[in-house]
């Protein structure tokens, strides 16, 4: 320090000595100054450590970093017979059942619930026939003896068949969809009405095969066979639901079917054994042939077909000249059969409108 002072004193002027005093001070405290700089750096590092620890404490993950001894005890290996290494019993994995079926009051797992409900209620696409059979039988038995044939049926909308102005709003939502596997089994109300387990009984005619027909009560069978053709189709195994005068089947077929279906019957059903068509004619006490001749002119087809075509319309008593209390039949066309009588429907309306009550005026 002295040397530097002397040097400065000699080399530079006096005023500059003071300036350089500070330089000397810097040099002498050089080490300390640098140390202070270094200490600053060290302080920053230690603060970093403090922040780390403090953060862990405040955010509650300190115990994860530095767990207590008790934490270790909780997770010790378990070496007990019958339990696994964590201490769980082998059957503890099973979960309890979750859902109760409202129909059969069974306990079910959640994954099996929906398919089970479908089958249980007989409402799904793949549901078993048993459920619907039972439903139908229940519905039919309730409807037993109901002679409410007031409701008229209408053609499905794709075949606009005029019904003498008495066209009622379409009640049978699925009537046109015969290919549907379950169409016959379910109620003909729109399928969204699934909630009501009790199918609303409708004096409608549904598709049957031999088995379901057998499930019906006697009265039901009788009434049914009085209304529909009933011939069992080879393709689908179902009874033809067209009218008694269905053009696609012969009287012999109908007789045969009735014999088969009512095989166990006694004399009561003897009346059904006669030709349905003839029986009807007799009951109606009409002059069928006169009527038929009208159609014969128009149609180059079987007279039966003519009446079949006629019967496909709502049948008022006017046409057949029968008593007013002869109620029209309700035949729902559920089968997709080639319709030869496309032309026919237009005719009767003109007949009806022009000659109500009279036979024909052609």
């Amino acid at each position: 320090l002295k040397r530097t002072y002397a040097l400065i004193f000699r080399q530079r002027g006096r005023p500059s000595i003071r300036k350089h005093l500070f330089v000397c001070m810097d040099l002498s405290k050089n080490g300390e100054l640098l140390e202070s700089v270094l200490n600053q750096l060290i302080d920053e590092e230690s603060l970093g450590v403090c922040f780390e620890m403090h953060r862990a404490v405040k955010l509650n993950y300190y115990e994860l970093l530095y767990p207590d001894d008790s934490a270790y005890e909780k997770h010790d290996l378990v070496n007990v017979k019958g339990l696994d290494i964590f201490g769980n019993a082998p059957n503890a994995m099973k979960k309890p059942v979750d859902c109760v079926c409202p129909n059969c009051s069974r306990m079910l797992g959640a994954q099996k619930f929906a398919p089970h409900l479908e089958k249980c209620m007989g409402m799904g696409r793949n549901s078993s026939r048993l459920a619907t059979k039972k439903n139908k039988a229940l519905a039919d038995s309730e409807q037993e003896g109901s002679d409410d044939y007031e409701e008229e049926w209408t053609y499905p909308e794709r075949k606009p068949f005029p019904t003498q102005g008495k066209k009622q709003p379409k009640k049978f939502g699925t009537s046109g969809n015969s290919p549907k596997p379950l169409a016959g089994k379910t109620s003909l109300k729109p399928l969204k009405d699934v909630d009501s387990l009790q199918l609303k009984v409708h004096p409608s005619i549904q598709q049957h095969n031999v088995d379901t027909f057998a499930c019906l009560s006697m009265d039901c069978k009788h009434t049914l066979l009085q209304q529909i053709c009933g011939v069992v189709s080879e393709r689908t195994g179902r009874l033809c639901t067209r009218s008694i005068n269905c053009p696609q089947h012969t009287e012999d077929q109908r007789l045969d079917v009735r014999k088969r279906l009512l095989a166990t019957q006694d004399q009561e059903s003897a009346d059904l054994m006669t030709s349905p068509f003839k029986r009807r004619l007799e009951a109606d006490d009409l002059e069928p042939y006169h009527e038929l001749s009208v159609y014969e002119n128009v149609l180059s087809e079987d007279p039966l077909e003519g009446t079949g075509g006629r019967s496909l319309v709502e049948e008022g008593p006017s046409l057949l000249g029968s008593s007013p209390d002869k109620t029209p039949r309700k035949v729902i066309k559920l089968e997709k059969k080639p319709r030869k009588l496309g032309v026919v429907p237009s005719l009767p309306s003109s007949l009806f409108s022009s000659s109500h009550g009279t036979t024909s005026s052609f």
């Binding site: 002072y5 500070f22 001070m25 002498s28 050089n30 100054l33 590092e45 780390e52 300190y62």
Partner: protein, 120 residues
């Protein structure tokens, strides 16, 4: 006359060289220090020194030691009675003291070299 005056100043400087707690000196010292820091920061040297220091301290285990000390403190005080200030107050003196000399020397060396290359 001037000579006498300079001798006085000379004595004063000797005095000053031993003492560094005079307010003026302290102020000057701070000034210099800030200037040094400024220089280091601007050039990015400070960052480099920091990284160097961090790695050296980690290697020598200084960090883990300090953390252990922290844990002891926390377990003494209880988990809920910890604040940054208390931690810092307790930790810092120990931190400074426990830095190994080797590390200190190395860092000082680095700083000096830097200042020689880039005088203030």
């Amino acid at each position: 006359m001037q000579l006498l005056w300079d001798c006085l100043i000379w004595k004063l400087t000797l005095l000053f060289s031993d003492m560094d707690l005079k307010p003026d000196a302290k102020r000057k010292e701070n000034q210099v220090r800030t200037r040094i820091n400024q220089k280091l920061e601007e050039s990015g040297e400070r960052e480099r020194l920091k990284e160097l220091l961090r790695s050296r301290l980690q290697e020598c285990g200084w960090r883990d030691q300090l953390k252990k000390h922290c844990r002891e403190l926390i377990s003494h005080r209880g988990l809920n009675n910890i604040s940054v200030d208390t931690l810092a107050q307790e930790i810092t003196p120990k931190a400074r003291a426990s830095v190994p000399d080797l590390v200190k020397k190395e860092l000082l060396q680095q700083i000096r070299e830097y200042l020689e290359k880039n005088p203030i």
